[in-house]
């Protein structure tokens, strides 16, 4: 069994959290992702945890893909206790496994698509700062993949039939 832990928190809290994770999944292989400053310090305190860099080269998508291939049974995200933004909740969701957020005091909350708590703060922040063009692109892509596709399946053959066999009359030069 493999457990992934995202340590987006302070050094002491991360130490506390790793201890709790280790205690709860004592037989599991724990893989933790920590920032460059804390990693060596945490490694010295938790030699049985595979501590990795939380900013791997190759971009976000490649990072998530690589993690999905590792097939973690549980994904744990450090939770600060509040409702504020924590993008790694989305990463945990994208891994497609059971995901929980645990704070330094051991409080636990389920991370799931059906729980607005998991993605709501992220959506709100993105919504406020989003580039209108990007939003429009996203909306267009969603429309194209659904209603647009249905309409196209119906009208493209009709359009081809209407165009086909028409006499060629090139427009005159202006």
């Amino acid at each position: 069994m493999k457990v992934a832990v995202f340590l987006t928190t302070g050094r002491a809290a991360a130490d506390e959290l790793l201890g709790r994770v280790r205690a709860r999944w004592s037989m599991a292989d724990v893989v933790a992702f920590a920032n460059d400053e804390d990693r060596d310090w945490l490694r010295a305190r938790h030699p049985d945890v595979d501590l990795r860099r939380d900013k791997p080269p190759g971009g976000k998508v490649a990072f998530v893909r690589a993690l999905r291939r590792e097939a973690f049974a549980e994904v744990v995200v450090a939770w600060h206790g509040g409702e504020r933004l924590q993008p790694l909740r989305l990463v945990a969701l994208a891994l497609g496994r059971r995901a929980v957020a645990i704070d330094e005091r051991g409080r636990e909350r389920r991370v799931a698509w059906w729980a607005p708590w998991s993605w709501g703060p992220h959506l709100l922040r993105r919504g406020v700062t989003a580039d209108p063009l990007q939003v429009a692109r996203l909306g267009a892509a969603a429309y194209r993949a659904t209603i647009g596709l249905l309409l196209a399946v119906a009208w493209l053959p009709l359009r081809l039939w209407l165009l086909r066999g028409r006499r060629h009359r090139p427009g005159r030069a202006a």
Binding site: R137, A141, R144, A152, L160, R164, R167, P170, A173, A174
Partner: protein, 793 residues
């Protein structure tokens, strides 16, 4: 915190603005339509087109307006004095002083007694200041000069020469900035268009042709460096006080002249150095100047746009336009929105003045708005009206034509199949004046363009970018075309090429370029060289697809065919590379003028004398960004090679070509497959191989790799699709097989028969030389040119 508050507030303000803006736009539209309807009977009854009159263009009244600009005049007047004396003629130089307090008038009287001074008691700004100067002018030609200009030697002559033609209203000089490091925001060559309900105006860098011609059209002649016909200027009403204090008055004047049937021209033979907004921005501040420009743009549209659909689009899209334009560099969206709304509110009190001007000038109009933009933007369109007034461009040989070649990518030697285009253009450039516009990939070197320039071809390039816009909602356009050849910046670059090149024929290479031209203005016949029919290629993908992918492939085939038929509508003639393409298009469009001309030319595959042929090695060469090559390689390795190796275990396949995707690279794991990637010496790779194979089931057109194999004297096994466009016969020039078993058998047969290989190689080479030589191809193109452009020259 403030940014977050603004971000939260903005959507609500935008929502509030939309109904208000829409109501405002609709009210303005109704007001304009009512005034137009009332004025229309009078306009028809009093229709008075301009009658060109001869004018004395040997002398000019040169008017300069200044306000506390003595330091600017210290640069301008000596240069102007030199120019006036060098040109000769009875010129009049008038300086209008707008109530300066820096002692300009006294200085002028003391230092430049040759200048006539109009000393105004107060600052009447640019528009009314110039009007005061014109009242003093007595010559037939008016030259307006900003006080922060320095005229260059030879400034005056070309302006006056241009005005000798009575159809010409104004001639603008080229503008350079005094500081050469500044980006050339002002050049004198201007263009504009109505796009998405708004006026897009720009100064553009003059192209090679715009520089080489004596005169090129321009949308407006700048009010600070141009010459005008005085009689026409006065008849139109001069710089309109609607735009007081400044900006857009020159645009309004020139636009009115275009609409009355005049020509407004630009000449690169005359030039000035400009400080650029040396007075206005310093005196009034950037915000005020920008606000005046925006206000006057609204007024211009209300005053001048007489096409009902155009003004309706402008005013109905007003609320959305204001929101879109509210993004201003260095300002928040909220500030930008307020700027736009305030500019609009500032324009409203002048609406009656704009409507009155609209009614006054209506009886004199002979050109529609769309015509004005077409003629002012494009040399080719303007030439139809202006003829010799623009001057003539030389061609390499007498009788040559001016051809604009638009290519989706720059043709180059030794790369993909575009070497055939390179060879053809090289031969055509000896006779015709060719301008080639093509796209390059980001980071490409200039090698391909340099090679073409060496042939005497003018090359203009633009970088291909991904389309950032949302759209294609109903899948009308194949996704690849929309994504890779749909960016507005790319389309703008193509349109600018069409406008700025003096051409009598447009030759369009590759379907991607035809797609980019969809809806572009057409001012000369269009010849489309169909390297591959979109619909045929997509149909062939569908024909070999299996399972659910087949449904998707058929959808794409319908989509590609419908789009291709739509794209072909404005095309005057099609040159297809193969009978299959010609047949496919001809069956779908009645009366489509289509000629089949193969591609070809001298093949450059290098020397391979020292290379020894390897036994039982089949070579496949392909550019792997092209989908049919990827499918062909997969079919070869997955379906044909196993059958081949059943009888010949030592048989090998070598795949050569750039940009192999992971699907092709993965084939290297199969026994007997080598993925060699790009090889610099294709001749050596060919010589090493026992046979060359072309297992293509998709795509259309003519395959350059077949000609390359024949040129190398290699025996070829190919599918019927791969042989299209050539006269290849099975067993005579190559072996043709369409099924895996037959293909494997043909390759095995050649592996074991050196004599047959030699015979086929020799016959193929002979066929390539006879039917795919450059001379024959170019001659066929000449016939098509003659048909399109009106007979042989």
């Amino acid at each position: 915190m403030r940014a977050a508050l603004q971000a939260l507030l903005l959507p609500w303000l935008a929502l509030l603005w939309l109904p208000i803006g829409f109501a405002l736009g609709l009210s303005l539209l109704l007001a304009i339509l009512v005034v137009d309807a009332v004025a229309w009977p009078f306009a028809v009854r009093r229709r008075r087109p301009w009658q060109p009159r001869p004018r004395d263009a040997s002398a000019a009244s040169i008017v300069t307006v200044t306000w506390n600009g003595r330091h600017h005049l210290e640069g301008l007047l000596p240069s102007l004095r030199r120019e006036v004396l060098a040109t000769g003629g009875d010129h009049q130089v008038i300086v209008v002083d707008n109530g300066s307090t820096d002692g300009t008038v006294e200085w002028l009287r003391a230092e430049h007694p040759w200048v006539e001074i109009v000393a105004l008691p107060e600052n009447r700004y640019f528009v009314r200041g110039n009007r005061a100067g014109v009242e003093r002018a007595t010559r037939d030609v008016l030259v307006f000069l900003n006080n922060d200009m320095v005229v260059q030697p030879g400034f005056l002559g070309p302006l006056l020469d241009g005005l000798r033609d009575p159809r010409v209203f104004a001639v603008a000089a080229e503008v350079f900035f005094k500081d050469p490091r500044k980006r050339r925001e002002e050049t004198g060559r201007t263009r504009g268009e109505l796009r998405a309900g708004w006026l897009k105006l720009a100064h553009v860098l003059p192209s090679r042709d715009e520089r080489a011609l004596a005169y090129a059209p321009t949308l407006w002649a700048g009010g600070g460096s141009a010459a005008f016909d005085r009689a026409a200027y006065l008849a139109i009403g001069g710089f309109d006080e609607l735009y007081d204090p400044f900006y857009m008055e020159d645009m309004g004047l020139s636009y009115e002249a275009w609409k009355r049937g005049f020509l407004v021209l630009f000449t690169a033979r005359s030039s000035v150095l400009h400080e650029h907004r040396g007075t206005s921005r310093k005196a009034f501040g950037d915000d005020y100047v920008d606000a005046m420009i925006r206000r006057n743009q609204h007024l211009f549209l209300w005053r001048n746009l007489t096409s009902t659909p155009a003004i309706a689009r402008v005013l109905l899209l007003l609320p959305i336009g204001v929101l879109l334009r509210s993004r201003r560099p260095g300002r928040s969206r909220l500030q930008g929105l307020w700027f736009e709304v305030r500019a609009l509110l500032r324009a409203l009190p002048r609406l009656p003045q704009a409507l009155a001007g609209r009614c006054r000038s209506r009886p004199f109009h002979v050109r529609a708005d769309a015509d004005v933009f077409a003629h002012a933007n494009s040399i080719a369109a303007c030439r139809r009206r202006a003829g010799a007034a623009l001057g003539e461009l030389p061609t390499p040989r007498p009788g040559g034509r001016r051809i604009l070649v638009l290519s989706a990518r720059l043709p180059r030697l030794g790369h993909d199949g575009s070497w055939t285009v390179f060879r053809r253009l090289a031969a055509q450039a000896k006779v015709h004046r060719l301008t080639l516009f093509g796209f390059v990939e980001p980071g490409d070197d200039d090698g391909a363009a340099a090679a073409l320039r060496e042939l005497g071809i003018e090359v203009v390039t633009a970088v291909r970018v991904r389309n950032p816009m949302p759209g294609n909602l109903h899948h009308a356009i194949p996704a690849r075309l929309w994504r890779d050849y749909g960016a507005p910046a790319m389309r703008d670059a193509v349109v600018r090429a069409l406008e700025s090149v003096d051409h009598e024929l447009v030759q369009i290479e590759y379907p991607e370029m035809l797609h980019l031209l969809h809806g572009a203005p057409k001012h000369a016949p269009w010849l489309y060289v169909c390297h591959e029919s979109l619909g045929l290629a997509a149909s062939r993908v569908a024909a070999v697809a299996r399972g659910p992918a087949r449904l998707v492939a058929w959808f794409r085939a319908v989509q590609a065919t419908a789009h291709e038929l739509r794209l072909l509508r404005p095309v005057d003639h099609v040159i297809a590379l193969s009978d299959a393409d010609s047949r496919f298009l001809g069956e779908r469009i009645q009366g489509l003028p289509c000629t089949v001309v193969p591609c070809g030319g001298e093949v450059d595959i290098g020397e391979a004398a020292a290379v020894v042929e390897e036994p039982a090695t089949a070579l496949f060469v392909g550019y792997f960004r092209h989908g049919p090559n990827v499918e062909g390689a997969q079919w070869l390795c997955e379906a044909i090679l196993p059958l081949l190796r059943q009888g010949l275990p030592q048989a090998r396949v070598r795949l050569v070509g750039r940009d192999a995707p992971p699907a092709v690279q993965a084939l290297a794991e199969r026994p007997g497959v080598e993925v060699a990637g790009y090889v610099a010496d294709l001749g050596a790779a060919m010589a090493q191989a026992t046979v060359v194979v072309l297992p293509l089931r998709q795509g259309s057109g003519l395959r350059g790799k077949l000609l390359e194999a024949w040129a190398a004297g290699k025996a070829v096994v190919a599918t019927r699709v791969a042989c299209e466009g050539t006269a290849a016969r099975d067993g005579e020039h190559c072996l043709i097989a369409d099924e895996p078993a037959a293909f494997a058998a043909a390759v095995a047969r050649l592996f074991g028969d050196p004599e047959l290989r030699a015979r086929l190689g020799a016959a193929g080479r002979d066929l390539a030389q006879r039917q795919h030589g450059t001379a024959g191809i170019v001659a066929a193109y000449e016939q098509v040119y003659a048909g399109l452009c009106g007979g042989a020259r």
